[in-house]
């Protein structure tokens, strides 16, 4: 249910969004709807605009043209309370970005305590429970550099979940991981999808995208060139560029 009372409206609406870095246009009139409890995967080559689109959605980047509405709130409006908006949207980055000077537990507790005013005991209880869910409860008092990449990334996901977001943005979260560590992270995302979390996922893991996505968007050169259900995109892409991209990726997967 979106908070504006209009249950029919998609949870996320991106309307003709354009963005430039200097002279370079990195997003070209991108439009995208994401329904509540849906999972949308963004695929495309590096530099196609996937990450920038995600960063625009929680206002880490400024949108220059167009409009984004999340949960009935027009976030591209000047007077939006950015901090309040971000409490509803979790984002997980490729490089985990855990806080290296804090223990795992402190990483997970920080935002609930400081941004939402949850009491120390409640925040700690919730953090330990979440860490238990990913099997890392005994790592609670370790510093991040003592954890493997896969463990760090799962902590980063849990850190975002501790804010009880309504939307999760995952930005190529397995790209920096050794292959044998990828599956633990993807399993956690799969669980999230099953629990009904609304997610937008930028990924290079095609098999995973095909399995969890309700909708796939192929980005090419700052544009959503093609979107559709996973079966349609992977079996029968309409656009030659999509076909080309998928062929190249599948080739690379075979080689590795």
């Amino acid at each position: 249910m979106s908070s504006n009372g209009n249950a029919a409206a998609p949870f996320v609406q991106v309307k003709a969004v354009s963005k430039w870095f200097g002279d370079l246009q990195v997003l070209k009139e991108v439009s995208l709807d994401v329904g509540e409890h849906n999972v949308v995967c963004l695929i495309g080559a590096s530099g196609s605009g996937k990450s920038t689109l995600l960063r625009c959605l929680n206002m880490l980047e400024r949108v220059e043209e167009g409009e984004i509405v999340v949960d009935g709130q027009r976030i591209t409006h000047d007077k939006i309370d950015v901090n309040a908006l971000r409490k509803k949207i979790g984002i997980v980055f490729q490089a985990y970005n855990l806080f290296p000077h804090m223990t795992v537990l402190q990483n997970v507790m920080l935002a609930p305590r400081k941004a939402r005013g949850v009491s120390r005991d409640d925040a700690e209880g919730r953090a330990r429970q979440l860490l238990g869910r990913i099997g890392l409860e005994e790592k609670a008092d370790e510093y991040p550099d003592r954890l493997s990449g896969g463990q760090q990334q799962r902590v980063a996901i849990v850190r975002a979940l501790a804010m009880e977001p309504k939307l999760m943005l995952l930005d190529e979260i397995t790209s920096a991981l050794d292959p044998q560590l990828v599956s633990d992270v993807l399993n956690l995302v799969r669980e999230l999808a099953e629990s009904g979390m609304t997610m937008i996922i930028a990924t290079h893991e095609m098999g995973f995208a095909r399995e969890v996505a309700d909708k796939i968007c192929f980005l090419d050169n700052g544009r959503i060139l093609e979107e559709g259900g996973p079966e349609q995109i992977f079996r029968d892409p309409r656009e030659p560029r999509t076909r080309e991209f998928l062929a190249r990726v599948l080739e690379a997967e075979k080689m590795s």
Binding site: R55, N58, L60, N83, A84, R86, K87, I89, G90, I91, F93, A95, N97, L98, F99, P100, H101, L110, A111, K114, A115, R116, D145, R159, A160, M163
Partner: protein
């Protein structure tokens, strides 16, 4: 050879060295006090100015400019000139309370003004060395700009700049001798007095020994921190 013998005798005379000890020690306690107070003030003020210098947005522009002007002025002015300004200027203003402080207080003010400018730059380098992704991670969790600085950026920055910061403190400790020019009765000026009265120089040696004795532990401690960090970073690389 005779001249060298004379000089050596004038500096290294154990009897005179022992005689000078109590006077110079009394003065050195003033140096210790100035160091301690100035260092605490510098740690706090420099961090505040470094943060102001990094404030985002157009509204903060005048504050940023003020912070830049401050560091430019006090890094560019020789400390002895600042000492004259503070030590002779402030009493001359006849501003009641602030114009009737002791020489020691004006010494502390001088040291604080100058070293805050240096240490501001040290902090600033530390703040800028924290990767932008840390800021993005904190902000995306809903933490405000101030909370992000307080809990995520500044703690990491301070840890990184402790060695260069302690290095500046070695300089500050020695410069407590310079503020004797405005009349602070500290170790250097008292050793000079003793030397004039006795017609020899071991009192200077006494002062030198005191300064070295408190500088060496600080220098070794700094080395230790640097070595510790290197070990840790090497351990992470494997």
């Amino acid at each position: 050879m005779h001249a060298l013998h004379e000089v050596l005798h004038a500096f290294f005379n154990l009897h005179s060295f022992t005689l000078a000890m109590p006077d110079v020690w009394a003065g050195f306690q003033v140096n210790l006090k100035m160091m301690a107070v100035a260092e605490v003030l510098v740690l706090v003020l420099a961090l505040a100015i470094a943060i102001v210098r990094g404030l985002p947005g157009r509204g903060a522009k005048p504050f940023r400019a003020l912070a830049i002007a401050y560091t430019d002025f006090f890094r560019g002015t020789p400390i002895i000139i600042v000492a004259f300004f503070v030590g002779f200027g402030i009493p001359g203003l006849q501003l009641g309370y602030i114009s009737s402080r002791s020489f020691t207080t004006y010494g502390i003010v001088t040291l604080t003004l100058v070293y805050t400018a240096y240490v501001t730059e040290v902090y600033r380098a530390g703040i800028e060395s924290v990767h932008a992704s840390q800021r993005a991670a904190a902000r995306s969790l809903g933490l405000s700009y101030a909370q992000t600085m307080r809990y995520v950026i500044v703690p990491q920055a301070v840890r990184r700049v402790i060695p260069p910061l302690l290095n500046d403190f070695v300089g500050l400790q020695k410069d407590t001798a310079i503020v004797s020019v405005i009349g602070v009765a500290e170790a250097a000026s008292l050793s000079q007095q003793f030397s004039t009265q006795n017609g020899d120089f071991p009192s200077y040696l006494v002062a030198a020994v005191f300064f070295i004795l408190i500088t060496i532990p600080l220098a070794r401690f700094t080395d230790h921190l640097v070595a510790q960090r290197e070990r840790r970073e090497r351990a992470q690389a494997f």
